[in-house]
C-alpha cells in the first residue's frame, strides 16, 4: 500500500546519523510502519490524544492493518518502546566498546544516547516526554526504560572506583537522568545542549567518583 504523504515524510525523518535508526527499522514491514506511525503520532500529540486514526495516517496503512497486528493503542505503543529500547541499549553497548577506560566508555555512551535523541526528536518525545502524562496505563514503562539506560551507561564499572553507590542512590540518579533527558527532549529554543551534556555526565559519574572528580572528568574527559 502506498504511504500517505505526511506519513512518509515522518518516516523519512527517523533514520539519519551513525546512531540513528536504520532504514529497515522503519520500513521493513507493516508492523514496524505502524510502530513508526505511533512514535510520530505520540510525539506530535501526546499519548492520550494520539488516536488509532492518527497512527494509521502517519504510518500510511489502513485501520484494518492496525488491527491485524495490534488490538489496542497501548499494545502498539509498548511494542514501539521495546523496539526503541533494544535499539538504544545496543547502540550504547557499541559506543562503549570503543572507549578506553571506564570513564571514556561512560562518556561515549552518554554521547551516543544524546545523539540518538538529537537526530530522532520524535523518539525523544515519544519515550520520555509523553508517558508521564498518560497515567498508569503504560505501567511505568518509561521508568523501566530510563533505569535500563542508566545501567547500560554505567555498566562495567571497575570495583576500584572511589565509591560504590547503593541501589537507592542509583534509583535516584535514574530519576535525575529522566528529568534531564526530558529537558533535552523538549527542545526549548535557548537550550544549551553542551552544558546539559556536562551536567548529565556529572550526574551519572558522581555516585561512582564523588562530586568533584565527576565534575573534572565531565569537563576534561
Amino acid at each position: 500500500m502506498p504511504a500517505v504523504e505526511g506519513g512518509e515524510e515522518k518516516l523519512r525523518r527517523l533514520p539519519p546519523g551513525r546512531h540513528g535508526l536504520s532504514r529497515e527499522f522503519v520500513t521493513r514491514n507493516q508492523q514496524e510502519r505502524l510502530i513508526a506511525g505511533t512514535i510520530a503520532a505520540v510525539a506530535e500529540r501526546g499519548y492520550r490524544d494520539a488516536s488509532i486514526g492518527h497512527i494509521t495516517a502517519a504510518a500510511g496503512v489502513s485501520r484494518q492493518t492496525f488491527y491485524d497486528y495490534f488490538s489496542t493503542k497501548e499494545e502498539c505503543f509498548l511494542a514501539g518502546y521495546d523496539l526503541f529500547e533494544s535499539h538504544t541499549v545496543a547502540a550504547l553497548g557499541e559506543a562503549g566498546a570503543e572507549g578506553r577506560g571506564w570513564t571514556a566508555k561512560v562518556t561515549a555512551r552518554v554521547d551516543a544516547l544524546l545523539e540518538i535523541l538529537t537526530v530522532n526528536p520524535d523518539l525523544a518525545r515519544f519515550s520520555l516526554a509523553a508517558p508521564p502524562t498518560a497515567g498508569e496505563e503504560l505501567l511505568g514503562r518509561d521508568r523501566e526504560f530510563v533505569e535500563r539506560l542508566l545501567r547500560a551507561i554505567t555498566s562495567e564499572a571497575p570495583r576500584s572506583t572511589p565509591r560504590q553507590p547503593s541501589e537507592v542512590e542509583l534509583e535516584a540518579v535514574a530519576g535525575g537522568l529522566a528529568s534531564l533527558l526530558v529537558v533535552f527532549a523538549e527542545e526549548s529554543g535557548d537550550l544549551d545542549r553542551g552544558n546539559l551534556r556536562l551536567e548529565l555526565l556529572e550526574l551519572v559519574l558522581a555516585p561512582f567518583l564523588g562530586r568533584e572528580r565527576a565534575s573534572t572528568v565531565a569537563r576534561n574527559g
Binding site: 497515567g135 496505563e137 534509583e171 535516584a172 530519576g175 535525575g176 528529568s179 534531564l180 550526574l203
Partner: protein, 202 residues
C-alpha cells in the same frame, strides 16, 4: 456547630474520600459517578463544591499538599540550620507517603495526567522543593561548584524513587530511605567530613 464550619468540614471529608477514588482508579479512570459515590455525596452536592472532575482533582491535590506540609520546617524557623531542615523535610515527606500512600499517589503519580492545572501545580511543587535545596549553596562554608540543574535532578530523583514504590504498591521504608537520601542530598553541599560530623551530632 456553625453552618459555615460544618460545610468546611464536610468539604474536607469529601476531598479525603475522592483522593482515595482518584488514587485507586487513576485520574483518567475515575468518573463523576465514582467520585459522587466515593465521596458519599449527591450529584447536586458534588457540583456545588466542584466545577467538574478536573476541579475536584485540583482541590484534592491542594488539600493533600497542605496536609503533608503542615508540620514541615519552614525557611524562617530559627531553631534548625539548613541541613537539619532538609533532613526534617525529607523525613516528613517519607513518613507522610508511608502513612498515606493514596494521598501520595494522587500528588506524585496522578497529577501528571490530571489536566493542565494539576500539571502546573505539580511542577510548581517540585520547583519549590528545588528552590529550598538551592538555598544550601549559600549556607555551606565551602561553596561547591554544582551544575545549574543539580537541585532539579535531585528533587526528580527523590520523586522518582517514591513513584516507583507507589506505582508498584510496595511500602515506603522510611528507615531504609531517610538516612541514605539525607546523605545523598546534603553531601554535595556540605562535603563528606562536615556531613559525617553533622549526622553524628544529631
Amino acid at each position: 456547630m456553625p453552618a459555615e464550619e460544618h460545610a468546611q468540614r464536610r468539604r474536607r471529608e469529601i476531598l479525603a474520600s475522592v483522593t482515595d477514588v482518584f488514587a485507586k482508579r487513576g485520574y483518567q479512570g475515575a468518573t463523576i459517578d465514582h467520585l459522587v459515590a466515593g465521596g458519599k455525596t449527591s450529584m447536586g452536592g458534588f457540583y456545588k463544591l466542584f466545577d467538574g472532575k478536573e476541579d475536584c482533582f485540583v482541590q484534592a491535590f491542594d488539600q493533600v499538599v497542605d496536609e503533608a506540609t503542615v508540620d514541615a520546617p519552614r525557611p524562617g524557623d530559627a531553631q534548625a540550620d539548613w541541613g537539619a531542615r532538609v533532613s526534617a523535610c525529607l523525613l516528613a515527606l517519607l513518613e507522610f507517603a508511608a502513612a498515606k500512600p493514596f494521598s501520595a499517589r494522587l500528588v506524585l503519580l496522578e497529577a501528571q495526567s490530571g489536566g493542565p492545572e494539576a500539571v502546573r501545580r505539580y511542577n510548581e511543587l517540585l520547583g519549590e522543593a528545588a528552590a529550598g535545596l538551592r538555598a544550601g549553596r549559600s549556607e555551606s562554608s565551602a561553596t561547591p561548584d554544582l551544575p545549574a540543574s543539580f537541585e532539579d535532578a535531585t528533587v526528580s530523583g527523590i520523586v522518582w524513587l517514591m513513584q516507583n514504590r507507589l506505582a508498584r504498591g510496595t511500602a515506603i521504608d522510611v528507615d531504609e530511605l531517610h538516612p541514605q537520601l539525607t546523605k545523598m542530598v546534603l553531601e554535595p553541599y556540605l562535603g563528606r567530613k562536615a556531613l559525617t560530623k553533622a549526622m553524628r551530632r544529631r
